[in-house]
């Protein structure tokens, strides 16, 4: 099929962004990742006849296991490697970097704030994990988070650098919280109240966007139970 690809370009964090539009023939089963790779492998021109310089973007696994390739595709945050042209139900494809993070180049954004936030809430175990039948499924599901940032992109309350940290923090935290043995005071519990519980509007926009299908609502309610209502798993 014939498609029109519109890509938001930006050479550096301080330079002005612009859009570049390309007409292309492609199979409807093509993923956005393949589309970008193909464009990058060829010397092509945009509709104004200007050359399309290599598009900067990040990828790694190409099978929705690493979170590298998250971007806005027709306005929705998704993984490029897991989005087929056919799913977009449109002949025009617009690729833009995630909006909540500073742009590095083209489709690459700097998501380091997500790591900083996990550091800030002390997201680690302070003693040996307590595991039982009750928490294994939760630990598994929460551990699947690929730190892509799609949930933050749609969260009405998240702004990079501010005090509310969103699902990308509470999903990993829910694993640790579920594995903390009862009876001690944990920094994570304290920080959770400050950076998650008090700022979350529970609208759950994050829940449906997660590209790996983590049951975010479940993680939120379980973490709240432990961190706020002190209902430890053991």
């Amino acid at each position: 099929m014939k498609i029109t690809v519109k890509i938001k370009r930006q050479n550096s964090p301080d330079s002005a962004p612009f859009y570049q539009t390309i007409h292309r023939e492609c199979d409807k089963e093509t993923s956005v990742a393949t589309l970008i790779r193909e464009i990058n492998a060829e010397n092509i021109s945009d509709i104004e006849g200007k050359p399309v310089e290599e598009i900067s973007w990040e990828c790694s696994c190409l099978q929705k296991k690493c979170g590298a390739c998250a971007m806005r595709i027709n306005g929705i945050p998704r993984l490029a490697c897991d989005t087929k042209i056919a799913e977009l139900k449109s002949k025009s494809v617009t690729l833009e970097p995630l909006k909540k993070f500073p742009v590095v180049r083209d489709l690459i954004v700097d998501r380091s704030v997500m790591r900083k936030n996990l550091l800030a809430i002390h997201n680690w175990l302070e003693s040996e994990a307590s595991q039982s039948e009750k928490n294994v499924d939760l630990a598994y599901d929460a551990s699947r988070c690929i730190q892509c940032g799609c949930c933050l992109e749609v969260c009405p309350n998240f702004t990079a650098g501010e005090s509310f940290f969103g699902a990308a923090a509470f999903v990993p935290a829910s694993r640790i919280l579920s594995q903390l043995p009862k009876g001690k005071k944990y920094d994570l519990v304290k920080e959770y109240g400050k950076h998650i519980y008090s700022g979350c509007g529970k609208s759950l926009s994050c829940h449906n966007i997660c590209p790996v299908g983590i049951d975010i609502e479940h993680k939120l309610s379980n973490s709240n139970a432990v961190a706020v209502w002190k209902r430890f798993f053991k």
Partner: protein
């Protein structure tokens, strides 16, 4: 003292954690953050003799299976250390919160290829991701204490080497392009050489092989480069090969081909003991053999339809979803077409059993190093090898490394990348000349093509990649025998007298030289 670790997958993280637990600081450098490393993609499991399945497993058996699986090319001393440490490693992961499947006897283990006992611990088909999440969180604890400094989005530019001693590494921030020179010993943990076969492997695009190629150009010896693992069950999808984990066969999946119109379970007939779970080199080669028989079709199928519902639910749910998602086939209902694909590099940077390389103060661990797997890796042994290797390298560094402060001379750094077109040409030549079963004339042709291509290199990185590719092909030519993953039509037999030795590749005066050395012996 601060140690520089290049690569933040399982091996790099494991090294950083070991150092931090022993009070030593490290810089953890990686092109992308840990969540994007290939280690998160590992599926089927990690091996350790836990003996929880009532099969009377022993560490000795793990050791024997690993050496036999690697067709006696691995260093027995190193493998012994690996197998002895394995149970402790898996238990530590459980204490870090990895939700291994358990029952009242402890961690449940599944069958995996080339092993006579159930010895593979797992979390469904997402074992790598689970280990990584736990390890990332644990290393974060030390990051908060200032013991580990992370440099994500930084790539290796070169090592600082003088008189065969490493004094540090020059790295570049890929976001800001800023160059940084980091002093101190270096542990390399940059993963497999995927980039040589761009688009043809089951792994990440991020492991470009540029780090190993750069080291090679700086005089570091590489070893066993010809040992490239084709995994029997992969499927081509966009931009890569999709792995169907060995867990599929571990849980009862069967390989067959249509022979005169009827399913022939060739592995079961030919190998009555281990059947579909023979080592990967054997299975892949058999698939090539049967599919070239005149009475057979050319497509091999993996039949998982006999697997019980409960197993699909508890152990393989993610594998099933993956098949439905990527190939629109439900493996619980229909056999799926599979073929061998490039999956793992047994060879890499030469290291001794303590993970020292040929350059002092430089160490290597994980898939980038040549340790533990000999001529063929057993499934479940590479997660183990990465974790254990990282620990072992860290321990050696702690014993040997001293503060040193030679700064990088402020030369203009060469940071241009290999162009996609150049990468593709290398891949085409290698893929054509290094199939599962090889022969000298195809490889000789590849050598001439690579030499011609090398003359067109436009920057240092392209030159390095071409030299690395030449080293792989030359190693494969020089090993005139069949062993493990290296199978040849012109030398179909194993030749222990001449080749129970490691291939060593070095770059001397711009030329690739191949020698052989005894296993376990130091490099001269």
């Amino acid at each position: 003292m601060k140690i520089n670790i290049i690569g933040a997958g399982l091996a790099g993280l494991s090294a950083a954690l070991t150092l931090a637990e022993n009070g030593i600081k490290s810089n953890l450098i990686s092109v992308q953050q840990s969540e994007r490393a290939q280690s998160v993609m590992a599926e089927g499991g990690i091996n350790a003799c836990l003996n929880t399945m009532g099969e009377n497993d022993k560490i000795e058996y793990h050791y024997e299976d690993t050496l036999r699986g690697g067709v006696y090319l691995a260093d027995p001393d190193a493998v012994r250390g690996l197998c002895e440490a394995a149970p402790g490693i898996v238990k530590k992961f459980a204490s870090l919160g990895v939700p291994f499947e358990q029952n009242e006897n402890g961690i449940i283990q599944r069958n995996f290829g080339g092993q006579k006992k159930k010895r593979t611990a797992y979390v469904k088909s997402s074992t790598g991701k689970m280990l990584m999440t736990a390890l990332i969180d644990e290393v974060r604890k030390y990051e908060a204490r200032g013991m580990v400094t992370r440099y994500p989005n930084h790539s290796l530019v070169r090592l600082i080497v003088k008189e065969n001693r490493c004094f540090g590494a020059v790295v570049q921030n890929t976001y800001t392009k800023e160059i940084l020179s980091l002093n101190g010993a270096v542990i390399l943990a940059t993963g497999g050489l995927n980039g040589l076969f761009e688009g043809m492997t089951t792994g990440t695009t991020q492991n470009t092989s540029d780090a190993a190629a750069m080291l090679f150009s700086q005089g570091v010896a590489l070893s066993n480069l010809e040992m490239i693992q084709y995994h029997p069950t992969t499927i081509g999808i966009q931009g890569k090969r999709l792995l169907i984990s060995e867990a599929a066969r571990g849980e009862g999946g069967r390989l067959y081909i249509l022979r005169s119109g009827k399913p022939w379970y060739f592995m079961e007939e030919k190998y009555p003991e281990l059947k579909n779970l023979m080592p990967r080199d054997v299975v892949s080669a058999e698939m090539v053999t049967v599919s070239s028989l005149p009475e057979c079709d050319d497509q091999v199928y993996l039949d998982m339809t006999g697997i019980e519902k409960s197993v699909w639910k508890t152990r393989l749910s993610d594998l099933r979803e993956q098949c439905i998602h990527y190939i629109s086939l439900d493996p619980a209902k229909k056999p799926i077409p599979v073929s061998p694909g490039i999956h793992y590099f047994m060879g890499g940077v030469w290291v001794d059993k303590n993970h020292r390389t040929s350059v002092r103060n430089l160490y290597a661990a994980g898939e980038c190093a040549c340790q533990y797997h000999g001529a063929n890796r057993l499934g479940g042994n590479s997660l183990l090898g990465a974790v254990y290797g990282g620990q072992a390298a860290a321990k050696t560094v702690m014993n040997e490394s001293k503060e040193n402060d030679i700064k990088a001379d402020r030369a203009e750094e060469n940071t241009a990348d290999v162009s996609p077109a150049f990468a593709r040409k290398i891949c085409e030549i290698l893929y054509r000349s290094l199939p599962i079963v090889r022969n000298e004339s195809d490889m000789n042709n590849a050598l001439s093509e690579l030499k011609a291509l090398k003359n067109t290199a436009e920057n240092q990185a392209e030159m390095n990649r071409a030299n690395l590719a030449l080293a792989v092909v030359q190693s494969a030519i020089e090993r005139r025998e069949t062993r493990g993953a290296h199978k040849r039509t012109d030398y179909p037999e194993r030749d222990d007298d001449n080749f129970k030795k490691q291939t060593v590749a070095r770059l001397q005066n711009g030329k690739v030289e191949i020698t052989f050395k005894e296993i376990g012996e130091d490099l001269s």
